[in-house]
Each structure stands twice: as C-alpha cells, then as structure tokens.
Amino acid sequence: MKNMPKRFKHRKVQKGSLRGLATRGHTVAFGDFGLQSLEPGWLSARCLEAGRVAATRAAPGARVTIRIFPHKPITSIPAETRMGKGKGEPEYWAAVVKPGTVIFEVGGVTAEQAKVALNRVAHKLPVSTRMVARRTR
C-alpha cells in the first residue's frame, strides 16, 4: 500500500502551522498501548513505514495501528538552484503531528513486548515520544 493519498486536490500546499497541542487523536483508541508524540513535527511517509516495519518485526503477531496519515505534500527545490522561479516540486508526503498525538498503537501483546516494539518505532521518528497505555476510566 502506498503511503500517500489516492487523490488530492492540490499538488502543493503551504507550510501551515505547528502551534498548539493535539486536540484530537491524543488517546489510545484501537490497541492497548500507544506511542504519543511530545513535540510537533512533520512525519514523512517513509519514517511511518519504517516504524510499522520495526513494530511488526519487534512484536510478531501484534496488531499495529498507525493513527496518522501523510496528507501533506512537502516540496523542495533542487540543490544548486538559484532562488526564485516558483515553488519547488513535491518531494515526499508527511503527516502533521502536534504534541500529544498518538502516532502508533499496538494491541494483543504484553506491556513488555509493546515497550520493546514502541521503543524500536521511536528510534525511527524525528520527534520525541513516550509510551502510553489505554485509559480504563
């Protein structure tokens, strides 16, 4: 599965803002344990895929859920190019993450297995994270 939108309205979008905390998607919803972002950032489709592979290898049989999707096209201009002449070309797709967003979830494994798996995932991400458990109340 390609980790990018199937269709989109605009090839290029503006940078947008990363201010504030997550107001949605900040609780564990599908699995038993989650990896919560503590910083804002753009998470590329490539690092999300790397995280997914790391989690499934670290905890075989676990249900791994990626809670975010790379909706945002990120452009860049080639090296050694003079400034101007318009916006660069789309390079990759990224998900916008705010502090508090639960990025990955794992279920069907013990806390120890989840800790190992989510730690491996955390090493693939450009933001600092922490492990959170599903809230019972």
């Binding site: 390609k2 980790n3 990018m4 269709r7 989109f8 309205k9 605009h10 090839r11 905390l21 997550a22 107001t23 900040h26 609780t27 038993d32 919560q36 489709a45 490539r46 895929e49 592979v53 499934t56 290898r57 075989p60 049989g61 249900r63 096209p73 070309e89 789309p90 797709w93 502090p99 508090g100 279920g107 069907g108 959170v132 599903r134 809230r135 019972t136 109340r137």
Partner: protein, 222 residues
C-alpha cells in the same frame, strides 16, 4: 459490589473558562452534577482527593456538598492532552435503589486456549454495558477467557454476570463480540531495501500526472 467513594465538594460560584483555569491552578477541579429532576450544580473538587478517588475502582460517589450529601454516578472525566491532569468531571445524580445503566470494566483472566496454540487475541471491547440497581454496580467484572479456541469469540451475552445484573441490550447487543482469537497470520515478507525503493519511485512518478488532472478538470468544469 461497588464501593461508594466519598468526595468533598463545594459549590462553584464563578463560571467560564478563565475562572476554571484559575481554579485548576489553585488545585481545585471544576465539576458538574445534574439529573434526577433537579437543576445542574457547578462544583469544585480538590484535585488531589479526586485523583486518589479516580485511581480506585468504582463509579459511584457520595458527594458532600456543604451540609448535604448526594449519590452520583461518574459520567465523564475530561483529561488534558497528555492524559495526566483531570480538567473536568461530570456526575449524574442517582438513587442507590434505582436501576441504572452503567459501563463496567472487564478484567480478563487466563490465557485463551487459542493463544497457546499460536493464535492472536483480539479484544474488541474492554467494557460492557449492564443494568442493575445502583448499589450493586460491580467495580469490575472478571471474565475467564481460557476456553476460547482459535476462530472462536466470547460474546457479550456469554459473559457470566452476578445475580441482579443483566446486560443492557439497548447499549450493547448480546451478539457483540468482546474477545476473539484469530488464526496466526502468515509471516509478513520482510521488506528489504529493494522493496522500499520502487514504492517511492511509483509515488514520485504518479504525483505529477495525478495532481495535474484534478486541477485541469476543476478549471474546465468552472
């Protein structure tokens, strides 16, 4: 049987988000109690006392407001983004002798037989909805899952409930799957370097034509 937890509360004279923030800074959590034909009452609870009470199992609280006390069922607890601090609590007034609908946590006991055979456990629901008199609300329901085989599931209607407690079929049907055991998945082929490269290549190749089409169509349509 649920224990009734006691909480000291005081009426909240001020309202609004700024006042609520001030209260939280002063160690008092805003709360509301409503229902049973009486009006809503805005309350303030001690943050530390509330935190200790929420850590205990049980949904029913005895709120001591001024001189009088009333029993209330916890309806909603709002937390901050990181789930560390309670922002607000909603209580619904109840009579301990009336029948109420309440969501009770499930505690799984044992390892499913299917899991020992290599299957994967899939927990669909961590709670179930039950109807019972308020004084008999269980803090937690223990469920023995050791007999579930691969390809089988435990349904809400099959969970043994104590006397006087029945499943609330309006909120949760008896056929609702609570826990299932799935057959082990086939091992996922390990994606190497070579696998990831073509994916990126395809994505890049398709970006321009896919993006151009909708824009062109939009202009044409307008």
């Amino acid at each position: 049987m649920s224990t009734v937890l006691s909480l000291q509360a005081e009426p909240r004279p001020t309202q609004g988000s700024r006042e609520a923030r001030r209260s939280r800074r002063a160690g008092r959590i805003p709360a509301n109690v409503y229902g049973h034909g009486e009006g809503n009452a805005a309350l303030l609870l001690d943050a530390h006392e509330l935190e200790l009470a929420l850590a205990k199992p049980g949904n029913i609280f005895e709120l001591k407001i001024g001189g009088k006390s009333e029993n209330a069922l916890i309806k909603e607890v709002q937390y901050d983004t990181f789930g560390q601090h309670v922002l607000h609590v909603d209580f619904a007034r109840i009579d301990l002798s009336e029948e109420i609908e309440v969501e009770v946590n499930l505690e799984l006991r044992g390892t499913p037989a299917g899991v020992t055979q290599g299957g994967n456990i899939l927990v669909h629901h961590n709670t179930i909805w039950v109807r019972c008199i308020a004084s008999a609300v269980p803090s937690v329901l223990e469920v023995d899952v050791s007999s579930i085989e691969i390809g089988h599931a435990l349904h809400a209607g099959e969970i043994p409930l104590p006397a006087g407690i029945k499943l609330d079929t309006h909120k949760m049907e008896a056929e609702t799957q609570i826990i299932g055991v799935l057959a082990p998945r086939a091992a996922e082929p390990e994606p190497g370097e070579g696998d990831e490269e073509p994916v990126e290549g395809v994505a890049e190749g398709e970006k321009a034509p896919e993006g151009d089409k909708p824009e062109g169509e939009d202009k044409g349509g307008a």
